[in-house]
Amino acid sequence: MRSSTFNFSIRTAVLLLLALLLPVGIYVRLKATEPVAPVIEVAHAREDFAASEVRFTRGRLGAEPNGPAPDGRVGPHASHGPAPDGRVGPHASSGPAIITNVQIVDFDRDGLPDVIACDARRGRVLWYRQVKRGEWKEIVLNTDRLLPAPGRATVVDLDKDGHNDVLVACLGNYMPTDEHVGQAVWLRNDGNNRFTTHVLLEDVGRVTDVRAGDLNGNGHLDLVVSAFGHYRGKVVRLENDGHQRFREHELFAMPGAIHVPLVDLDGDGDLDITVLLSQDEESVLAFENLGGGKFRPKPRTLFASSNFDLGTAGLVPCDLDKDGKTDFLLVAGDNLELHVNHPQPWHGCYWLHNRGDWKFEVKRLATFGGTYSAAAGDIDGDGDPDIVLVSMFNNWNRKDAVSIVWLENDGQQNFKTWRIDTAPIELATVACGDLNGDGRADIVAGSFHVVPPFDRLGRITTWMSQPAAPNKRR
C-alpha cells in the first residue's frame, strides 16, 4: 500500500509539474523565437581611397574653432566696440569658421612662406606671418574697416612701390543673393605693412575674384573682376590709368563667374582672360587679348558641359606636364541645388590639358564627392606636381566621409588618389607649399561651416607632409 501510494504520488506530481511548466516553456519559446520586423537594408556608396603612404601631421593656424576667445572668455563675446586686442568685430573663435580662401605666399619677402586667409565671418583678411620656422603670428590686414564677406585675396604690388598689396574680392554676402553687394577692394600697403582699404568697384553682384595683370601693355596693372552675382552677374576689366584710377569695361554679362585667371594661353606674350563660369552654363571661356587693350568679343570655349549640375567650383592654372604651356585644374563639387548636398558621381578634379592653338583636352583625374578646391604641389618630393583636393559637400552624414585627399603623380600624369583625413569637414579652400622647408609641399585648408552638421569643425588647418614609412615606399 505504501509503495502504491508512493507511485501514485510521483506520477501525479510529475504530471502536475509538467502542466505548470509547459505554459512557461511555451511562453519562453515563443518569446525566444518571436519574429523580428526586418529592417530595410541600405546600400551606401562608399569611398575606397587607400590611406596615404605619405604621412601627414595635422595642425592649425590661429584660433581653435569654438574655443575660448583670446582673452579667455568662452561663449558670446561683444562684437560691438573694440575687442581686447583692439579689433572691432567677431573673434576667430566664437562660432563655426567661414574661411573662404587660403594662400601660401612669402608676403613679407623674408624667405619664409606665410599664409594669407580670408575670414568671411569676421570680415577680415588675415596674414599668418611665419616669424621663424613653425612660429606663426596672426595679423589683421584690414584694420581700418570691416570687409563684406571677403571671398578671395590676390597678393600683388598694385602701385609698384616695392611692397605687396592685397586685392580682395568681397562677396558682400556669402549666401546666395542677387543684390548689388559685391566689392573689389585694394588693401594698400604703406610700406610698413599697415594697410588702407580702397574700394575699386561696387554696386555689382557678389564678387568672387580679382586678378591683376598688364592687359594693354602700358606697364600698369589692370584688373579683371568676376561679379558672380547669383542669377545675374558679369565679368569686368578695370583699366588702370597709372595712378590706380580704374575705368570699368564690361567683358561678359553672365552670372556665375567664379575665377578669372590671367594667363598667356596662345603664347603671344600678352595675358588672356580665362573665365570659369558655373550656374546654368558650366564652362571655361577665354577672352583672347588682341593687344592694346582689345579683346576678341566672342569668347573661346575651352571646356563646356551640358551638365548644369556639374558644380564647378575652381579653376587653377598649372603646368601639370611641364611642357611650358599653362594647363588648368578644374574642380567640380558644388552641390546645393536642393537645400541639402549629396556627392555626385561626376564630382572631382579634371585636367584641362593645353594642347596649343586654343585646344584643351579634358582628362578626369579623380572622383571625389563635393570637391571644392584644388592645389598643386610636390607632396612626396619626387619632383613632379601632385594635387591636393578638399571636399566641401561630401556625405557628412557618414562618419567615414573623407574631407581631403591627394593625387600622386607617377610622372606621366597618371594619378592615384590617397586619403589624407576625414576631419575637419566642409573644406572650401586649399593651398600647397613647403611651409617647413623640407622639400615637400605641405597643405593649408580653410573650413566653411554654414550648413549642418556642425561637428568635426575646423578653421585653418595644416597638414605637414612627412616622409613615408620606409617599408611603405614604392
Partner: protein, 452 residues
Amino acid sequence: MTRFDGLLIVVLIVEAGAGSVLYWRREVPPARPPIPELAESDTAGPDLRELAENCRSTDDWRQLAETYISYGYFAEADSCYEHLLSSRPGDAETLFESAFLLSRMGRLNESNRRFVEALDAGRADPAECWYFIGRNHLRAENNDRAAEAFTQAREFTAAQLERARIRSRAGDAREALELLRPVLAAEPDKIEPNLLAYQCYLQLGQPLRAAEFAERAADVSGRIFSPFQTQWIRLRKAIPRAGYRKRAERAENWFQQEWYDLAEEALAESVRMQWDEPAVNMLAALATRRGDHQHAVKLLQEILERRGPSCRRFERLADSFADLRDWERAVATLELALQTRSRDDLRGIYGKLANWSRQLGREADARRYADLQLLWTGKVAFWNADWAKAETDLKEAAKRLHKTADAWFFLAETQRRLKKGNKAREAYRSCLKLDPRHGRALRGMAILDGQL
C-alpha cells in the same frame, strides 16, 4: 491512473495544442525602416527615430523618405522607396518620387527608367516626368536625347528654354533664337531667356543687340517656373518635421498667434538643440517686446559673434541700442552696417542715421544722411525697374548731391531707359565731368550713340 492524473494529461494536451497554434499562427511584423547611422548625434535623431518607429501606412513611409532626403539621408530614403515599391510596384507617385531621388543621387539611368515606369503607371502629369528625364540626359551630356525629352515636356516654358539652350551650346545661335522666340514672347520679364538671347547675339557678333538683352536681364528679376521648384518646395516642407527646426517652426506659429510664452519656450529648446540665427533673432524680438532691451542687445551681439558682420545684423543691434535711447552706440553700429554693405537697400539705414544724428544734435550729419537716403531710394527704384520713381528721386538726389558722380550716373541710366536720350546724355556728361573715367557712364553713352 487516477481521474486526477487523467485530468492533468488532458490539460497537458490542451496546453501543447494551444502552444502549437500560437507558435504556427505567429505573424511576422511589418518591415521597419532603416535608421541612419548618425541619427544619434544629429539633433534631428530622436525625431527621425520616432518617425521611423511609427511608420505604418504608405503615406508614413513616403513622408519618412521625404524627411530623410531633407536631412541628407539619401540612401535611407532610397531604401524606403524600394520597400514601398516592392509591395506596390505600380504606384505612379511613389515611382515618380523615387525617380526624382535617384536623379539627385546621380543614378541617372535608374532614375530615367523609373520616370518611364511612372509614365507607364499613368502618372497624372507626364510632362513633368519628361522634363526630369531631359534634365537627366543633360547631366549625362546626352544632348540629343535631352532635346527629345524636352520636346515631350514642351508645355513647360522651362523645357522650351532648355531646347534653345541645347542649340546655343551646339553653336547654332540662329536656331536657338528661333526656339527662344516663343519663350521670350511668353516670359519677357524673366531673367533666363534674356540671358540666353544675350549669349546668342554675342555668338552672332551683334554686341549692341546682345547688350540690349543683357540689360533686360539685369532689369528684370523673375525666373522661369520649372517643375524642379515644385519638388524643391515639397522637400523643403519636410524640414520642420524633425530636430531644432521642428521646434523653431512651432515657435514661429505661436509667435504669430501671440502666444509668446509658449514661443519662447520652444525657441529656447530649439537653440539648446542647435544654435540657429533665426531662432535667436526671434528670441531677441521677444525680449524687445517684453521691454528687455539689454537682453535683446546681448542676443543680437551673440548673432554677430557667431555669424559675422552684416547689414541686417548690425541694423537689428542698432535698433536695440535705439530702444535703449543710446543714440551714440546706435549710430556707431549703423556706421558698421554701412561698412559691410551686405545688402543693396540702404534706404532704411540712412533714414535711421539721419533721425538718430538729429537726436544727437548733429544737424550736418543728419542732412548728409537724408541726402544719401534719397540717393539710395532712387537707386533701389532703379534696380527694381521702377523708372518713373527712380527719375523723380534721382533728379532730386543729383540736385542735392551734385558732386556725387553716381547720382548723375543712375539718373542718366534711368533716363536712357525712359528713352529720354538728350536728358540722359546731359546727365552722363555731368557724371563724366566729376569722374572722366566712369566706365559705366562711358558705356551708357556708347549705347546711346549706337557705338558699343
